[in-house]
Amino acid sequence: GAGVSQTPSNKVTEKGKYVELRCDPISGHTALYWYRQSLGQGPEFLIYFQGTGAADDSGLPNDRFFAVRPEGSVSTLKIQRTERGDSAVYLCASSLTGTIDTQYFGPGTRLTVL
C-alpha cells in the first residue's frame, strides 16, 4: 500500500511569508507525528496527533508554528512569518495506534527560507 506522503517535496520562500506543509499518513493510522530535522541533526519532535486532536504539541518552537488534522487523516503544518532559522527538512510520520506501533516516515519537505 501507499506509504506516508508529503507535499511539497521542496519549498522555497522569503522571510516573513506564510507556508503550509502537508502530510498524508497511511490510511487507517490514527497517530501522526511532525518532526523538524536541521542539517547534521536528528529529527526534533514538534507535535503528535491522536485522531483529530493534538495530544502533545510541546515541541512546537513558538506560536508561529501551528498544525491541524481536522478529519483525523491529512495534517497540515503551518508556519507564519517564516524566519531563516526555520529552514530545515520537515518530516511526518504515522503509526497505527500511537503506542508501540512502528512509525512510518514520509520523505520530508525541505523548506528553505531566503
Binding site: P43, Y48, G59, A93, G98, T99, Y104
Partner: protein, 109 residues
C-alpha cells in the same frame, strides 16, 4: 536537556569487521529505546526496538540501565549496512520521541 547522545558522527569499518554504534540517554523513568536507519536516498525507517528484543539484519542492541546506554552492534559488517543510524527514545506513553544526532556508518570493501 539532551536526551539522546550519539558521540560519533562518523564510523568507518571494513567489511567483515565488528561494528558498535554508541548511544547514551538521559531520562528519568522507564523510556523505550529504538534504533532507526536511513539508507542513501531512502526514508527513515525503524531498525529495531528494545521492547521487542529482536535482531534485525544481524543487528542487536542491549539496554544497559546502569550505564544508560543502548549501543547497536553487529558482529560482521556488510557494505549494505552503510547508512545513517539514529538512536531514539520515547516517553512511556509514546507521545513524544527524542532522536540523537546520528552516526554515519561507512563500511569499506
Amino acid at each position: 536537556a539532551q536526551r539522546v547522545t550519539q558521540p560519533e558522527k562518523l564510523l568507518s569499518v571494513f567489511k567483515g569487521a565488528p561494528v558498535e554504534l554508541k548511544c547514551n540517554y538521559s531520562y528519568s523513568g522507564s523510556p523505550e529505546l529504538f534504533w532507526y536507519v536511513q539508507y542513501s536516498r531512502q526514508r527513515l525507517q525503524l531498525l529495531l526496538r528494545h521492547i521487542s528484543r529482536e535482531s534485525i539484519k544481524g543487528f542487536t542492541a542491549d539496554l544497559n540501565k546502569g550505564e544508560t546506554s543502548f549501543h547497536l552492534k553487529k558482529p560482521f559488517a556488510q557494505e549494505e549496512d552503510s547508512a545513517m543510524y539514529y538512536c531514539a527514545l520515547s516517553e512511556a506513553n509514546f507521545n513524544k520521541f527524542y532522536f540523537g544526532s546520528g552516526t554515519k556508518l561507512n563500511v569499506k570493501p
